[in-house]
């Protein structure tokens, strides 16, 4: 029998190669915007950062100089407040998920975590406005922190659940066999064993909210003064970037670049800390 078949392997190999180069090309091309953004940010940002920028309050339009001290402090206060609000709830909800794997409440909790993860940040700003700003009749840092805390919550819940699931069951059994009550087993044995993962989750959560602007627009609102009272409007670095960037004054643009640079460095440092921390503190089983 004489089977005639075409040898098209050359074309197939060629096609394979072309597609490979296409994929490589697109991959490298997608890195270009990042390099452009980072380069522009560093170029514009570093030149506008100096001692004055970090330690002075904003000056009125027309006067040179001035800094963003109030925004730096405001960002720190907002982050601390929202961490205080979200961490206790998040960790306990995470423990609930890892301990009670099935059941109606666990199912609903899992669904809620997914939903919270996907809510656009601007909607959370609206919610914080309706819940806190409207009844209190004033913009406040507290309302901003609530919006940010809701954003952070799903990340903490998810990381707590994921880490606690990895803690070996034998550890729990050993503790219970020694007669340690259930709640002490969870709090003193299981939780410390998963601490690194939970801390990583918290750091990533902070990194996520540190640069958020949308939820702060009509909650923390921004202010030109140094303010430590969470019941008053407060400035934050992302708000500075937004307000100054859309202004027509080149002096303010420079300040906005400085604030952007600070913010990016902060977020990157948090991400890096989370990553290295995760590998260093990790308890291996």
């Amino acid at each position: 029998m004489n089977v005639q078949y075409q040898d098209n392997s050359n074309i197939r190999f060629l096609y394979n190669k072309i597609m490979k180069y296409f994929i490589f090309l697109f991959t490298f091309a997608s890195i270009i915007p990042l390099i452009l953004i980072l380069a522009y940010l560093i170029k514009q940002g570093i030149s506008s950062i100096n001692w004055q920028f970090l330690t002075q309050l904003p000056k009125p339009i027309g006067e040179q100089g001035g800094g963003v001290l109030n925004a730096i402090i405001g960002t720190i206060i907002l982050i601390v407040l929202s961490t205080i609000i979200s961490v206790p709830i998040g960790i306990k909800a995470g423990i609930y998920l890892s301990e009670v794997k099935t059941g109606k409440l666990a199912y609903l909790l899992r669904l809620s975590t997914d939903i919270l993860q996907g809510i656009p940040s601007i909607v959370l700003g609206v919610i914080a406005y309706l819940w806190l700003v409207k009844p209190m009749k004033a913009f406040s840092a507290l309302s901003g922190s609530v919006a940010l805390a809701i954003m952070m919550l799903p990340m903490i819940i998810a990381s707590t659940e994921e880490t606690l699931k990895l803690v070996p069951y034998s550890l729990k059994e050993a503790s219970l066999a020694l007669g340690v009550p259930y709640y002490r087993t969870i709090l003193k044995v299981i939780l410390p064993a998963g601490m690194s993962g939970i801390l990583t989750g918290i750091l990533l959560g902070i990194a996520r909210i540190a640069g958020e602007t949308a939820p702060l627009l009509f909650t923390a609102f921004g202010s030109p003064y140094l303010n430590f009272n969470p019941l008053h409007p407060m400035n934050a670095l992302p708000l500075v970037v937004f307000n100054y960037a859309s202004s027509p004054y080149p002096n303010w643009w420079r300040q906005a670049w400085g604030a952007s640079f600070l913010l990016t460095m902060m977020v990157l440092a948090l991400n890096l800390a989370a990553k290295t921390g995760a590998s260093r503190w990790k308890v291996k089983f």
């Binding site: 490589f24 666990a106 809510i119 066999a177 640069g211």
Partner: protein, 321 residues
């Protein structure tokens, strides 16, 4: 909670009983009683879990309650009316719906080849090693930059570029508009879509791929005939999740879309999305019905992104089991 205790913490039941016996034998002793505190602990966990669930319910309910006035006065035509004129009390959300859909679908279209390329590059060609590490770090870096900074960069770099393009095409050179917003969104969703895609592609079983290789398939043929069909639903889920991201993205879009409440008739026209109109006009909303109209848009945004998200996550969860 009960089922788990009985089934897997059998030892613990014994511990409980012995604690109780101990308590009975040494009345008023200082022996730490585990029983009540366990109960308390359970209750605390349940309450915290319920708080999170109630939170989501409360968000939905309060958005719905506050958006009643506008639906009362405009009816369902609020969604289909294309005039938004707060001074004349005319509220139609159509321009923003179209603006959101246009920008996010365009961004999805632009980003698809890039994100698929990265996903394949990291999931198939270089799944480990230094190059993979470099690309993973850079994409996670891209994902970490706050959106307001993307907007700022877009305003100063992308807008002049688009303006030049518009002069070439002979349209009004606004610089800001639907196209600029889509480009910024594209840059923003590439890393996210790529990381979901990579995850899905790495789930394809090794023996399926090896089977295809053993039959003499080239790498591209394996990708086309094994990986894509297997990961199809996962890739679809990744696209959905990125779409959810793009729809909800606020700051970057607000800064470069031009904030025009008219219906966008061309790609270069300044427009507004659902998120950007809330960001722009919420603090200016003086009348009750104006505020209610904006909250109704927020409700819409919440519902759309939630549905998209739940479907996407459901598909991915089903895949990874």
């Amino acid at each position: 909670m009960k089922a788990v205790e009985v089934e897997s913490v059998g030892d613990f039941e014994v511990a409980k009983i012995s604690t109780r016996l101990d308590k009975m034998s040494k009345q008023k002793s200082s022996y730490p009683s585990g029983f009540n505190k366990d109960y308390l602990f359970d209750i605390t966990l349940t309450i915290m879990a319920s708080i999170v669930v109630l939170l989501v319910g409360a968000i939905l309910v309060s958005l719905a309650i506050y958006s009643i006035p506008v639906f009362k006065s405009e009816g369902i035509s609020f969604l289909f009316h294309d005039v938004w004129n707060p001074i004349a009390n005319q509220f139609g959300a159509m321009p923003f719906l179209v603006g959101t859909l246009l920008t996010s679908f365009l961004a999805l279209l632009f980003s698809l080849p890039f994100s698929m390329a990265i996903a394949l590059f990291l999931g198939e060609y270089f799944s480990s090693g230094k190059i993979a590490l470099f690309f993973q770090n850079t994409t996670s870096l891209l994902a970490g930059i706050p959106s307001v900074i993307y907007g700022f960069w877009g305003l100063f770099v992308l807008v002049p570029l688009v303006r030049k393009l518009e002069i070439k095409f002979g349209v009004l050179p606004y610089g800001v508009g639907v196209l600029t917003a889509s480009l910024i969104l594209t840059i923003m969703i590439i890393p996210y879509a790529a990381s979901v895609g990579r995850e899905v592609i790495s789930l394809v079983p090794q023996d399926l791929k090896e089977g295809a290789y053993a039959l003499g398939a080239t790498r591209w043929e394996v990708i086309k005939n094994v990986i894509f069909p297997y990961a199809r639903s996962g890739i679809f889920a990744g696209i959905l999740l990125s779409l959810g991201r793009a729809i909800g993205e606020t700051m970057a879009v607000t800064m470069v879309i031009g904030n025009n409440n008219q219906f966008p008739h061309s790609l270069f026209a300044p427009a507004n999305t659902m998120a950007s109109v809330i960001a722009n006009e919420f603090t200016e909303a003086t009348s009750n019905i104006y505020l209610s109209a904006l909250i109704a848009i927020a409700l819409l945004l919440f519902i759309v992104t939630t549905i998209i998200n739940i479907i996407g996550r459901y598909i991915i969860k089903k895949l990874s089991i």
